[in-house]
């Protein structure tokens, strides 16, 4: 057992677990953040995607000791990590609802985390960039085309908002 400190969704969290425990199970079992899902345990499906220092990683295959002292963002903290107030949705979450993406919904939190990491670096992604960023996230309900649409919608909405802000500043 080891005492490890993480920064999860903006708060410092101390956990006492064996150091090789995958981050996924620390989030789900120790910190009770169950929005991050277990799908394959082998980094093949992306259901467990979270951000570490802003980068998307597969938490099922990441020993918790590797993220000691680092900043972890899960679906529960995604909106707040983008400066939104409690109760507000990240633009991707809003577009996921607007485009009616989820069916069973199990993979969708991981999909949204991958998409959020994409938009943070590539605010106006092409279809090919979306495919490249999202190809590691499996969905057995087959929601891929609506996911693509929702990412485009979110990118467009964010771009529109940026222009408005820039216009207001002038």
């Amino acid at each position: 057992m080891a005492d490890i400190t993480l920064r999860v969704n903006g708060s410092e969290r101390k956990v006492s677990v064996s150091s090789e425990t995958p981050l996924l199970w620390v989030l789900r079992d120790t910190l009770e953040l169950t929005g991050t899902k277990f799908g394959c345990g082998a980094g093949l499906c992306g259901a467990c995607t979270v951000h570490v220092e802003g980068n998307p990683i597969r938490s099922c295959s990441t020993p918790v000791e590797q993220v000691a002292g680092k900043s972890v963002t899960t679906i529960e903290g995604l909106a707040a990590s983008n400066g939104l107030a409690a109760g507000q949705l990240h633009i991707l979450q809003a577009m996921w609802i607007a485009e009616e993406v989820p069916q069973c919904g199990y993979c969708q939190t991981g999909q949204i985390m991958s998409a959020a990491a994409l938009l943070a670096k590539t605010p106006q992604p092409t279809d090919d960039q979306i495919t490249a960023a999202m190809n590691g996230n499996l969905c057995r309900c087959g929601t891929y085309e609506r996911i693509r649409r929702a990412i485009h919608s979110a990118a467009d909405a964010a771009s529109h908002a940026r222009k408005e802000t820039a216009g207001g500043a002038r």
Binding site: M1, V17, S18, T21, P22, W25, R28, D29, T30, E32, L33, T34, G35, T36, K37, F38, G39, C40, G41, A42, L44, C45, A47, T74, I75, E76, L89, Q93, W96, I97, E100, V101, P102, Q103, C104, G105, Y106, C107, Q108, T109, I112, I130, T131, M134, N135, G136, N137, L138, C139, R140, C141, G142, T143, Y144, E145, R146, I147, R148
Partner: protein
């Protein structure tokens, strides 16, 4: 998984002072005698809250939205004020099985009548309150209105009076043209929680004091535990119990999932491999070939196919075992407390979970309470109750609440698989190349048969919903040979329709090619005459199949040439009482098909929610494409070979085509939509590959 025949009663049920309850009495399929109790689909309380109870399980197919829409339509309810409640296992709802694309078609009438009866009673209550004629009152948006005096009462205000009135047994139902809710693209009620990570799936449920368990199961089909050494497991931090569960598994219990997994990793189990230790895929396929010589049961017969004479064409098709692989691995939470047990189960069969768990742990069914959680996909895998039974047994063994979790490898290797099958197709064609006789023999093990319910006369009980005739050929024989296999079998999305459609619709394409005809025009010619094809409880209409095929051809631009290098194929099929046609457009890249576009047309009667319908069809096509391209479970030395998403690879975004969905406008009774889009995909794709390469694929998967 046919919808059950049911007797239906409407009865008064007044919850003590709480409000108006509309009850239906529906027999449960496993009821020994006619034991009925009232079931509330609907509660209206004085605070104007309208709660609609959903007695099917939500696995992504949208029942928590679509079923309440049906009731709310007849109730004339304000949709914005509806609350949805998920029913657990009950004796009040009839069969609660979620499967067979049956949720809407089996609840369409009960939900409509429940809403309509309540609406009529609320109208009566208002008329009595105002002392006016019933006929002068109307229901609208959760209010009863009296236009002549401009008065209005909310449903909540009428609860007390309505609850005293008799429930009408014969209520008027609305016409399709008057629908305000049914047919609308209403947003799904479950989306917000799902995108926020707040939705509670089975795997997410937590309770105080709960332990976690993973099981080590005998990797050889039919094998058993002969002994185990738990010394190393118990050294793992948090592991509190290791013990045999049933004959074929050892459970490792810990205070975390990871602890249980680690405990299992170092557990040393000796297995008795049992009778199937030499079983392999080749032997399974050989047993199907042997089965072909057996006498078959007739599923459908017209004329006399054996007597037809002329040019003969024949072909054989084979399909492998496949696994459902839903994203949420199997799990169930159980809390055994001596004289009762409570379950939190992601399940398509809450009643079977209740009964099986009760039997396994020595309780009566009414001592087991089943709560139905959200499911991370089902696709038929959660029609099994194995996870629930394991959870019940482990909870009893440790006398504490426990969640049993399966890993992905557990899911892949201990699933119940879509049966492998062999299909022998034969036709006698006339001088124009059209069949005067067609024979289709399906040789496959029976899923229900393996579970002890083979059905009468050698006919597997699923085939009536899934393998009907498509064409009105004068001499037509559809036959089934029931074989056996030790490989565990299960109902997987579209069940036998996938196999039947692949064989038939590939073969019809071969006939069209042999006749030198366009495959679409060839099919339309076969469907040219209006015919009713009676097949068990369904009457297939060639006119409706022709309708979907024509619309698909039109929307696909079948009569227009494709760009260079693009090819297309078509297939149509009917199952779960719906008609479906699909056109698949491909290019060939490095000898492999890349699917660019799928055009899908369905005739499923009245559409309840077009957005959910599109989801189901898009999803079915993605699922069907993964099945066609790669899905194959193989057996070596009695063990399932595949283990995770690397060697059993679902479709990813880069392989996903654009899917266009059209529904034939219809006010007919709604029919199935969860599964019918799956079967035509594989034959349409293989027919496109033939168009591109002149190579006929007669065995799935394509990329084997």
């Amino acid at each position: 998984m046919s919808p059950l025949s049911r007797r239906e009663f409407v009865a008064a049920g007044v919850a003590a002072g709480a409000g108006l309850v509309i009850g239906f009495y529906l027999p449960h399929k496993n009821s020994s005698a006619e034991v009925f109790s009232p079931n509330a689909y609907l509660r209206i309380t004085p605070d104007n809250k309208v709660t609609i109870v959903v007695a099917r399980s939500e696995m992504g197919q949208g029942v928590r939205t679509a079923l309440p829409m049906i009731l709310a339509e007849e109730l004339e309810a304000d949709w914005k004020q509806i609350e949805i409640e998920q029913a657990g296992a009950s004796t009040l709802f009839g069969d609660q099985t979620t499967g067979g694309s049956a949720s809407i078609r089996t609840t369409w009438d009960p939900m409509r009548k429940a809403g309509a009866a309540a609406r009529e009673m609320l109208i009566s209550a208002a008329a009595l309150t105002w002392n006016v004629a019933r006929s002068s009152c109307t229901a609208e948006s959760s209010h009863i209105k009296h236009a002549a005096t401009n008065r209005s009462l909310g449903y909540g205000e009428l609860v007390g009076k309505a609850a005293t009135l008799p429930i009408p047994t014969d209520v008027p139902l609305k016409q399709s043209k008057d629908y305000k809710i049914v047919g609308q693209r209403l947003p799904r009620v479950d989306s917000p929680a799902k995108v926020k990570g707040e939705a509670i799936f089975g795997i997410d449920f937590r309770m105080p004091g709960m332990k976690f368990a993973v099981l080590s199961r005998c990797p050889t089909i039919g094998g058993k535990v002969s002994g185990f050494d738990d010394k190393d497991s118990k050294k793992i931090s948090g592991v509190s119990y290791v013990g045999k569960i049933g004959d074929a598994a050892v459970a490792v219990v810990a205070d975390s999932v990871w602890g249980a997994m680690e405990g299992r990793r170092v557990l040393n189990v000796a297995w008795d491999d049992g009778p199937n230790k030499d079983l392999n895929t080749a032997a399974v396929m050989a047993s199907l070939k042997q089965g072909a010589s057996k006498k078959s049961a007739s599923l459908y017969s017209a004329g006399d196919a054996a007597k037809a004479s002329g040019r003969r064409i024949s072909a054989e098709y084979t399909l492998p075992f496949m696994a459902h692989a839903p994203m949420e691995p199997g799990n169930c939470t159980a809390h055994y407390q001596g004289t009762k047990c409570e379950l939190w189960a992601p399940t398509q069969v809450p009643q079977d979970c209740r009964d099986s768990v009760a039997q396994a742990i020595g309780l009566d069914p009414d001592q087991v309470k089943v709560n139905v959680t959200l499911m991370g996909g089902g696709f038929g895998r959660r029609l099994e109750h194995d996870y629930a039974v394991e959870a019940g047994l482990v909870s009893k063994a440790i006398n504490a609440p426990v969640k049993v979790i399966w890993t992905r490898e557990d899911d892949m290797r201990f699933s119940t698989y879509r049966p492998a099958s062999l299909h022998q197709l034969g036709a006698v064609v006339d001088s124009s190349g059209f069949p005067v006789a067609l024979t289709h023999r399906i040789i496959a093990p029976s899923i229900s048969g393996q579970k002890g319910q083979p059905g009468p006369n050698g006919v597997d009980p699923d085939l009536p919903d899934e393998a009907g005739p498509v064409y009105g050929i004068a001499n037509y024989s559809l036959e089934y040979v029931m074989t056996e296999t030790p490989v565990p079998l299960g109902w997987m999305r579209s069940v036998y329709a996938l196999q039947a459609a692949f064989a038939l619709e590939s073969f019809v394409d071969e006939l069209a090619v042999a006749a030198g005809k366009d495959p679409l025009q060839y099919r339309l010619k076969l469907l040219a005459k209006d015919q009713d094809l009676a097949y068990f409880t369904t009457t297939w209409k060639t006119a409706r199949m022709r309708g979907v095929l024509q619309l698909a051809a039109e929307k696909a631009g079948w009569d227009k040439p494709l760009p260079a290098g693009r090819y297309r194929g078509v297939a149509c099929f009917g199952c779960f009482a719906s008609y479906m046609a699909e056109v698949v457009e491909i290019t060939m890249e490095n000898d492999q098909p890349h699917v660019h576009r799928v055009l899908a047309v369905v005739d499923c009667g009245q559409v309840v929610n077009p957005s959910i319908l599109e989801q189901q069809i898009q999803g079915g096509i993605v699922y069907g494409l993964a099945n066609a391209l790669r899905a194959k479970i193989t057996i070596e030395k009695g063990r399932v070979v595949q283990g995770n998403f690397d060697d059993y690879a679902p479709l990813r975004m880069n392989e996903t085509p654009a899917v266009e969905v059209y529904a034939v406008p219809s006010a007919e009774v709604p029919t199935g939509i969860g599964e019918p889009s799956v079967p035509p995909l594989a034959p349409a794709l293989c027919n496109a590959i033939y168009a591109a390469t002149k190579k006929r694929i007669r065995a799935l998967p394509i990329l084997s």
